[in-house]
């Protein structure tokens, strides 16, 4: 009797499971650490399984630390960055894709150049400008600062996707009486929707994770984002490991949930325009 087991398939499966386990282990370890009693954190043999009898740790951090406020602020900044970035990137992306004009190459290159400057270098002038515009210590300021960083990237991502939309489709719409702006809104955007979703996720994650601007431009505790709040646990004299891990886990979950919801579009968007013809 011949074996029906496919060794190649089995090895591939094993490799995938191993990679998944390696990727997921840090999250799992955060859970285990947050639920391990303090005295056991430094035991010779580390606990490998979470102790769910200590699940109240998660309730405690919400009760004793303004985690909900941090998450709400992060959500406002991330969502604002995402929406504003997409709104501001669509027209430049369409322009770079569809129009011919003097300096087009230079404009595209300049957009890339903005990505070469680190946040730490720009934060001092940005702080001075925001001070003049009364944008310091506001979430609006953070949204604008983050958007300035994400718009160039998103413009290029969307340009790539718009390049893949056949020009014939637009010409047909124009014959039907559509104006240029109607074509962008009613024809182009729906056709690049998966890429739009991918770009949105990138902008959201940037706003969600950003630290330097959030630390420097905002000082009120009530406006602190989760990235700054989490870093604040690392004290000069002590660090509450349980709280760090519990809040870290909570901080990770909304972003993971968003990615899971949007992943179908993201994957489609990432590959959009990769094959043109």
């Amino acid at each position: 009797m011949r074996s029906t087991f496919n060794w190649g398939h089995g090895l591939r499966l094993l490799a995938i499971v191993s990679l998944l386990a390696a990727a997921a282990f840090p999250i799992y370890w955060m859970l285990v650490t947050s639920l391990t009693p303090s005295a056991d954190l430094f035991a010779d043999t580390p606990h490998m399984l979470p102790d769910f009898s200590r699940i109240e740790v998660f309730e405690e951090v919400f009760r004793e630390i303004p985690v909900a406020t941090w998450l709400a602020n992060s959500a406002i900044v991330a969502t604002g960055t995402m929406v504003l970035s997409i709104a501001l990137a669509i027209l430049p992306a369409y322009t770079l894709s569809r129009f011919r004009f003097r300096g087009k190459g230079a404009l595209g290159f300049t957009l890339f150049v903005t990505q070469m400057l680190p946040e730490a270098m720009l934060v001092v002038p940005l702080y001075a400008i925001f001070g003049q515009l009364a944008l310091l210590d506001t979430l609006t300021g953070l949204i604008l600062a983050n958007t300035a960083f994400t718009v160039p990237v998103i413009t290029w991502i969307l340009k790539g996707a718009i390049d893949g939309v056949p020009i014939d489709v637009e010409e047909a719409a124009r014959i039907d009486g559509c104006s240029r702006i109607d074509i962008v809104l009613s024809v182009v955007i729906p056709l690049v929707a998966p890429t739009l979703a991918a770009a949105g996720v990138i902008a959201f994650f940037h706003g969600w994770n950003e630290y330097v601007f959030a630390q420097t431009l905002v000082s009120s505790q009530s406006l602190q984002t989760a990235s700054v709040g989490l870093a604040g646990f690392v004290g000069e004299l002590s660090t509450p490991v349980h709280s760090v891990m519990a809040v870290g886990l909570i901080y990770t979950l909304p972003a993971v949930a968003l990615y899971l919801v949007a992943q179908r579009y993201v994957v489609a968007g990432m590959t959009a325009g990769s094959v043109k013809g």
Partner: protein, 415 residues
């Protein structure tokens, strides 16, 4: 489909506008009081942070027209964040700096001199107050003064007694190590540069070394400094330290009875006392040939960019009042404050380890290169790089310190 996406875009635009508008207005609510910000790392510490916020709140309750808002910044990024904000023309009105950053702030004119703002004769300042004057001007008051002594776990040391000499210390650390317990811990990585420097200073000072002499000459390669570095290496190679462990973690290990000894400042002892009341710890002079040890001196300063100068100095004067100084000293643990505050016999009876810290005060030396205070961060970098070569690369301590001396002369002082 088209209609759907147009609808979606409209909603997105409305949401974006609403989010940015609401976010902008949320902080700009009408405030009847003059509001100042006060940045410090202590606000984010377990135990001490909440007590310090309560102390600030006591000030707020005493005022009709001024309110101070605490701003908790992480230890590792406080100086970078505050200097960035100051460079941009803003920043917190009041800042609790570390001494090394205090000198940088003075040199860059980032903090206000206290000229005429406080009547010096009115207060009985502690000895380290002299370090608050630069170029004959006062630029701050000591917010926290903390000494270094040996903290030990009585149950983890043989006989429960602390070592008195360096040789006894090595023997005790070796004997305590094993079964998941370490004999001693200190910092020895550039990831914790400020702490690494503090720990190294304790060894060098303890062996009688100093980074410079009274005449303002560097003494980085002097025999006593080399002896201190060699002692640091001896402990590193003894197999008694949890190598690579950061200070937060090994302090927690001490708290959890997993570490027998560490040399640490009074703030740490205060945290152990407040957060782990059952921990059988005690304090003793550090086991080095001389009693000199490092000194943590954190000044309270006023930002030169402040638009609330009078209110900021109102807070400073309030902080200097005897009752408020006492409250501050009590909440900071084994630290001292700007003015001399007697500890009550009840507190000393409950916290006997306070005596060792208070007795250390005359022997505490700032962790700065005297005469080169502003250059200390750069000198620190060169010295620590050379010490790492000794610890990890097995370099000869004398040669490493000779190289450090030469490099500081040529690279930092340009001589």
């Amino acid at each position: 489909m088209n209609h759907h996406f147009r609808h979606l875009l409209s909603i997105s635009t409305i949401v974006a506008t609403a989010l940015t508008a609401s976010a902008g207005f949320s902080a700009a609510f009408a405030q009847s009081k003059e509001t100042l910000t006060f940045a410090g790392v202590t606000f984010s510490e377990a135990g001490r942070g909440d007590r310090l916020k309560a102390w600030v709140e006591k000030f707020n309750k005493s005022q009709d027209k001024i309110e101070v808002q605490p701003v908790a910044l992480p230890f590792a990024t406080l100086a970078n964040t505050v200097f960035t904000q100051m460079g941009g023309g803003g920043g917190p009105d009041l800042v609790r700096f570390d001494q090394i950053d205090f000198h940088a702030a003075v040199a860059a004119n980032r903090i206000l001199p206290f000229d005429g703002e406080i009547d010096e004769g009115e207060y009985k300042f502690t000895a380290p107050d002299k370090y608050m004057h630069v170029g004959g001007k006062r630029y701050g008051i000591a917010f926290e003064i903390s000494n270094y002594v040996l903290l030990y776990n009585k149950t983890l040391l043989k006989g429960g007694k602390p070592p008195a000499t360096f040789d006894e210390f090595l023997t005790a650390a070796k004997a305590a190590t094993g079964n998941g317990i370490y004999g001693y811990a200190y910092r020895a990585t550039m990831a914790e540069r400020p702490g690494f420097w503090q720990d190294l200073c304790n060894f060098v000072y303890g062996f009688g070394g100093r980074w410079s002499d009274d005449a303002g000459n560097l003494t980085i390669n002097s025999p006593k400094v080399v002896e201190g570095v060699a002692a640091y290496k001896k402990v590193y190679d003894l197999g008694v330290i949890p190598k690579g462990t950061d200070a937060s973690t090994y302090r927690r290990m001490f708290w959890e009875n997993k570490l027998a000894m560490e040399i640490d400042n009074g703030g740490v002892a205060g945290i152990f006392h407040q957060q782990a009341p059952d921990l059988p710890f005690a304090a003793a002079p550090s086991p080095f040939p001389t009693p000199a040890q490092g000194l943590i001196l954190a000044p309270l300063t006023v930002n030169a960019n402040t638009k609330h100068k009078d209110a900021a100095f109102t807070f400073v004067k309030w902080a200097l009042q005897p009752e408020n100084q006492k409250d501050l000293q009590d909440l900071l643990g084994a630290s001292n404050v700007a003015t001399a505050v007697e500890r009550s016999p009840e507190i000393v009876a409950k916290q006997p380890w306070l005596t060792a810290y208070d007795a250390q005060t005359p022997n505490s030396v700032p962790q700065l290169v005297a005469g080169f205070e502003i250059k200390t961060p750069e000198i620190q970098q060169v010295i620590l790089e050379q010490v790492l070569k000794v610890l990890q690369g097995g370099a000869d301590p004398q040669k490493a310190m000779d190289d450090a001396q030469k490099m500081v002369q040529s690279r930092v002082l340009r001589k």
